[in-house]
């Protein structure tokens, strides 16, 4: 009984951790701009492919440059870190191309949704053009030195998922501490609270927006690299489904709430793990039904604040 409960907890935490990473990316952008960056899923895919290439992977026969690969192969950890950095830079580019021009013209927030969706689709299609549509798997020796799986109190978890869980927990902790304690984090929160007041206090809100995009891109890239090692890269669109799940988590936890994104991710992961195994094919339907029920009871999400429109 305890073993089964522990197994459910581990299963839920492992998938919930990735959802939380994606949702945190959405949260950072939403908190400063009040809009959702739909390119987040594409950045997730990008992180996976960058990690693969940096680890010495080669483009397959159906890519634009068949057989091409980088002239070096990095170990997993530096490859993952560089992939996250790469995704962060591309995220910044998305901000410059899809968000900044509209912001300068004070355009409707809805337009940013569309431009970010377009940027995401372009990115995924570029990945498809370059890498081909086929799946890529990381070498079996990616986590050499670690056993294939761990046993914890009778519950089993694959090493890669345990790693994924630990990295997610660490990133969430560091990010939370940075937001709470650092000067930059407090400036970001100030812009999130009220951009005009923050500007009057001397905070460069444009710089904070760029920082939010950099961080959210890095989170997506990190998540993509970790998920890719765990379940391979089934195709350029694989990040989109994580992106959709992250979006649900964002709403579940409360729009713009960092603790909400974490709680929402874990709750979503646990909800999926709690679904009886022989009904696991209905997992997405049941998980979204839970989301629906929570939103009926708490329209602002689990830890979100109700926004009162001042007139």
């Amino acid at each position: 009984m305890i073993e089964a409960a522990l197994q459910t907890l581990l299963n839920g935490a492992a998938s919930g951790g990735v959802y939380a990473l994606v949702a945190l990316g959405y949260t950072l952008v939403f908190s400063v701009l009040g809009v959702i960056n739909f390119a987040q899923g594409a950045l997730f895919s990008l992180g996976g492919y960058l990690t693969f290439l940096l680890m010495g992977g080669h483009i397959s026969a159906n890519g634009a440059l068949p057989g091409w690969g980088l002239p070096f192969a990095l170990p997993f950890a530096p490859a993952l870190a560089l992939a996250a950095a790469g995704a962060a830079l591309v995220s910044l580019l998305v901000e410059r191309l899809a968000f900044a021009p509209l912001r300068r013209r004070s355009a409707e927030p809805l337009l940013s949704l569309i431009t970010s969706l377009g940027a995401g689709l372009v990115l995924v299609n570029l990945l498809q053009l370059l890498m081909g549509a086929e799946g890529y798997a990381f070498p079996a020796a990616t986590l050499a030195g670690l056993p294939a799986a761990f046993s914890l109190g009778g519950a089993r978890i694959r090493s890669v998922q345990m790693l994924l869980l630990l990295v997610c927990a660490m990133v969430v902790l560091v990010l939370t501490l940075w937001l709470e304690r650092s000067r930059g984090g407090r400036a970001l929160r100030a812009v999130a609270e009220d951009a005009t007041t923050a500007r009057l206090l001397g905070i460069d809100s444009d710089a904070m927006v760029r920082l939010a995009f950099l961080l959210s891109g890095a989170l997506a890239g990190l998540g993509g690299g970790l998920a890719g090692v765990s379940v391979s890269l089934p195709g350029p669109y694989f990040g989109i489904s994580y992106g959709l799940k992250g979006l649900a988590v964002l709403v579940l936890g409360g729009l713009g709430s960092v603790p909400g994104a974490i709680a929402g991710g874990l709750l979503m992961g646990l909800a999926e793990a709690l679904i009886p195994s022989d009904a696991s094919g209905w997992r997405d339907a049941l998980a979204f039904a839970i989301l629906f029920a929570v939103l009926l009871l708490r329209p602002a999400g689990l830890l979100g604040r109700r926004f009162v429109e001042k007139v």
Partner: protein, 404 residues
């Protein structure tokens, strides 16, 4: 005069009403999955179709022991990406039909065939499915046929081999994608085959077509200590599922369905692919002139790689159409015919012929179902590098007396 003009315009814009160009090239369309989850099959299929096209265009010259060169035909191949979903396959079917394709090869997935084939059937366009194995595909209509033997014939063979190797097996776990027509149809056949042997699965885990993380269903199944795992999912998901099963400690036999009948799974499950059992409609070890030709063509395109069943079936799909067209042309059956008439005559010719293919001799039932006599059970053997492997023949089976 206006009415006459409109009638002429209507005839010109209606492809079935158009006359076939005298001496002009005939168009064959192929709708295969080059993108999405099923692209692993699409790559194999593209290769098979292109090899067949080369062969029917007179390249390369046959060598001793190979099949003689077929009659050269003026065929133009149009390859369209059918994606891995129904909507893309439908769009590709419509496009090729409107462009005047005489016949179509495809689509890749049974799920897509159930959506796209009715369009071809309604418009009277012959379809040869190279890889649809779900029950009921040729029964969509008289213009629909397939060269891929249905799951009910093949699937139980690998299960039989696993139970022959270990007759003590009592605890079987089944995994399948419940939102995929191929997977649900094949799983029903696996379950029937288990029931015939008085085996009730200890668990049936339903996954989703797009799933790649199987931690939940695997840990749930492993708590029931299965001795045999049966998997019916698509290739990428299957590769991931096998890898994760092994990583989580499962050491028993694994039997997989037709969805994993491609060497493209090897880079995904890597060394963990080793030992899986699979029933096949094609074996590279079949020693016939046409298979020797096919193997040489494949070796030229992909040196030192074994052709997959899916490549052989795609080659066969093109071959049966080309041979039926050649026979029809020899008899003058396409002379002065409209496209609609040519399509209808081609379908009749296709179903009435016998074909010596890389799969072995085949012919069709009147409803378009393939009749094939030989099937094989293979075991995957991976090389020490864990990246490359091969389907090793373990049993050659004659079904229905071995004669098509």
């Amino acid at each position: 005069m206006t009415i006459g003009g409109l009638a002429l315009l209507g005839q010109q814009s209606d492809p079935p009403g158009r006359r076939l160009p005298a001496g002009g090239a005939l168009t064959l369309g192929a709708v295969i999955a080059l993108t999405g989850n099923a692209n692993l099959y699409g790559q194999d299929q593209r290769l098979g179709i292109i090899l067949a096209e080369e062969w029917f265009q007179g390249l390369p010259r046959p060598i001793s022991g190979e099949a003689p060169h077929p009659q050269r035909l003026r065929l133009r191949l149009r390859l369209e990406d059918g994606g891995s979903d129904e909507a893309t396959a439908i769009a590709a079917f419509n496009l090729l039909i409107n462009q005047g394709a005489l016949a179509l090869i495809g689509p890749t997935l049974s799920q897509q065939a159930f959506a796209a084939d009715p369009i071809a059937q309604r418009l009277g366009v012959p379809v040869v499915a190279p890889s649809n194995t779900a029950q009921g595909i040729p029964q969509i209509g008289r213009f629909i046929s397939r060269v891929s033997a249905q799951s009910s014939v093949i699937a139980p063979l690998s299960l039989g081999e696993a139970l022959r190797r270990d007759p003590t097996v009592r605890r079987v776990a089944v995994f399948y994608a419940h939102d995929d027509a191929y997977s649900t149809a094949e799983t029903a056949i696996f379950l029937k085959a288990l029931a015939r042997r008085n085996l009730t699965p200890v668990t049936v885990q339903r996954t989703q077509l797009a799933d790649n993380d199987f931690q939940n269903p695997i840990t749930a199944a492993l708590q029931l200590n299965p001795q045999l795992v049966v998997i019916s999912v698509q290739a990428v998901a299957g590769g991931n599922l096998i890898r994760q099963l092994r990583e989580l400690g499962y050491r028993g036999q694994i039997v997989v369905g037709n969805g994993l009948n491609t060497p493209n799974i090897f880079p995904i499950c890597q060394r963990w692919c080793d030992g899986i059992l699979i029933a096949q409609a094609y074996s590279p070890e079949l020693d016939t002139p046409i298979n020797r030709t096919f193997l040489r063509l494949h070796e030229r395109a992909k040196p030192q790689q074994q052709p997959s069943q899916i490549t052989a079936q795609a080659f066969t799909a093109y071959q049966v159409l080309a041979e039926a067209i050649a026979r029809l042309q020899q008899r003058g059956g396409l002379k002065a015919a409209t496209l609609g008439q040519a399509r209808s005559r081609l379908m009749e010719e296709l179903l009435s012929g016998s074909y010596d293919t890389p799969l072995g001799p085949i012919r069709f039932r009147p409803d378009g179902e393939v009749i094939q006599g030989r099937f094989y059970v293979a075991e995957v053997r991976m090389q020490p590098d864990g990246r490359r492997g091969r389907f090793t023949l373990v049993r050659d089976l004659q079904v229905g007396g071995g004669q098509p």
